[in-house]
Symmetry: C3
Subunit: 240 residues, 3 copies
């Protein structure tokens, strides 16, 4: 399962999928997000934690949102509640770790014959993901639980973390953490909760619990991003 | 075969493909359109009917253009000329039905353990598509032929139904329904027919029969959408 | 391995993948580029040559950047250094050929039962790619080495040939052909070389050798395309 900020276009996903297909023939490589918040491991971390929980135990997540590629951030492996996560130790897996019942992590010691300076997704992380998908042991040494953690990040993020094809704006806030009558204040508007799109008149703005449990802002038969001026990083407040 | 208005980005297709891969390992899930006209089952219906006919008998089409998700539209299964169609009963399959030689339909009675309010593509339609791909019987009861039909929709639609990556504008009109010397009037321009791009000078606007039989408006080595001001829903007239 | 200018959206890739899946069940069809320079076989040729060399021997490349579809350009097969290339004989494979140690080419004589005027990718090139992927001999007759060549094209192209999701601008110039201290002059700016993004302050523009060997222009934590005004076809100069 790929979670990247590479975009679907261009050569990046194709090369990573080729590595996986060569090393684990017949496996299914599916994009969960190919357009995670660009260069933003923090927003990406809240998005990934909400979506990864839906997938079956045993799923291998290859997560590459890596603005520091070629720099000092460590390459890491995480096993959390039976799922594997491989990627840069830059906070991308912080919320998965924090919400996990069971968790272990490793620092990747393995290095490929040829490691480019700018594409560790292809050269380092994809081969390690393939090893784990084949059932091999993690090619590294265990980390302490608190290595590379982001203790200062909140449990839920009062910001937009993703805008989808319809213009709906996902937040980094789990809907179950909000009172059922909570209202969200964003861009000068106060939004009530609804169950789903059809419950409100055309053109009405609202928030609802999306199909993976995040609070999401939408406009019935409209685009919330344009009509409310929402984009990744815009913050909101909760009023009751 | 997926036909959706979800866009390729974001988590929607990845979750649907995961359901299909879990339930039918080794099957091929291919996107036919991931950017069908957003929230527009009518335009989508003409597009789907033109493209589905190209695919082999036995193909399973999972069609989700579903602005009324969570509302009252029924979930349906259609078998038409040996191909399966699963999706909302909102007119999306109307033109497939109307052009079919043999046809049966079912109302889906099966419900998953967990049905989200906003993502029936993942929770309801994908599992049903997987059941049919595995050769299981339709999990529902037969519908009358005329249930959920759209008798008032025309046999061909004099509107743009899709604009592709090159800026070419597909119409909802089958080219074989037009006289060979028909001209199309659109956006104040009168367009002649050509066989293909190379038959006209650079910059010339024309219409032609595209590779799936639809009348399509193009500009040789240019973008018809920008140069003629075309987008989904723009209508045209036929002159002879 | 698909290399096209079709875009990921719309029905084109899905239909080509369906042909490949029907003819070679279980094979992996991966997009290398789906957004090669539109209608520009020359820029595409430098991009393809740089990326194809990364793939294993035996890879089959189906390359469709074909503005002259339906016209007189010949359909061709190339075998170069153990990799297969299928597509229009319009220069798209010129740089692959020029850099190959071993090379043979064929003119495709085979024709499908039904050949549309505008989609040879689906009707002609995809079936031929499937035949080669199955190990069948090339369905055509050998060409002379110099047939359909572009002897007047340079060995490296001093132009932008691709802009990626991050706004980085790839050139048609191999980095190894440049002095290590070369500077690039583009859009009125003089750019120094860096190893990778993290080596420079935020906002700095530079060039570097990308993970497939091309000189690429980037801005650390910014978008080079917008900040420097770069797009496909913009030329640059080399100063030492």
């Amino acid at each position: 399962m790929l979670f990247t900020d590479f975009g679907l276009h261009g050569p990046y996903l194709g090369q990573m999928k080729t590595v996986l297909d060569q090393m684990v023939p017949g496996t299914s490589t599916i994009d969960l997000f190919a357009d995670a918040p660009v260069g933003n491991p923090k927003a990406s971390a809240y998005l990934l934690a909400a979506y990864a929980a839906w997938f079956p135990v045993g799923t291998v997540f290859l997560g590459v949102v890596d603005p520091g590629v070629g720099g000092a951030r460590p390459p890491t492996i995480l096993k959390a509640d039976g799922r594997w996560y491989i990627g840069p130790g830059n906070g991308l897996f912080e919320l998965v770790q924090r919400r996990a019942g069971q968790m272990r992590s490793w620092h990747i010691d393995w290095r490929p014959e040829r490691l480019s300076a700018s594409f560790h997704g292809r050269d380092l992380f994809a081969p390690v993901a393939a090893m784990l998908a084949r059932g091999e042991p993690p090619p590294g040494r265990p980390c302490r639980d608190d290595a590379h953690r982001r203790a200062d990040w909140p449990d839920d993020l009062c910001e937009i973390v993703y805008v989808d094809h319809f213009g709906n704006a996902m937040t980094g806030m789990r809907a179950t953490m909000l009172p059922t009558d909570a209202r969200l204040t964003v861009a000068g508007r106060v939004l009530e909760r609804a169950r789903t799109f059809g419950d409100l008149p055309t053109g009405a703005a609202f928030w609802y619990e999306n199909s993976n449990g995040l609070a999401e802002i939408a406009v019935n038969q409209g685009r919330a991003d344009r009509e409310l001026g929402l984009s990744i990083g815009v913050s909101f407040e909760i009023v009751s």
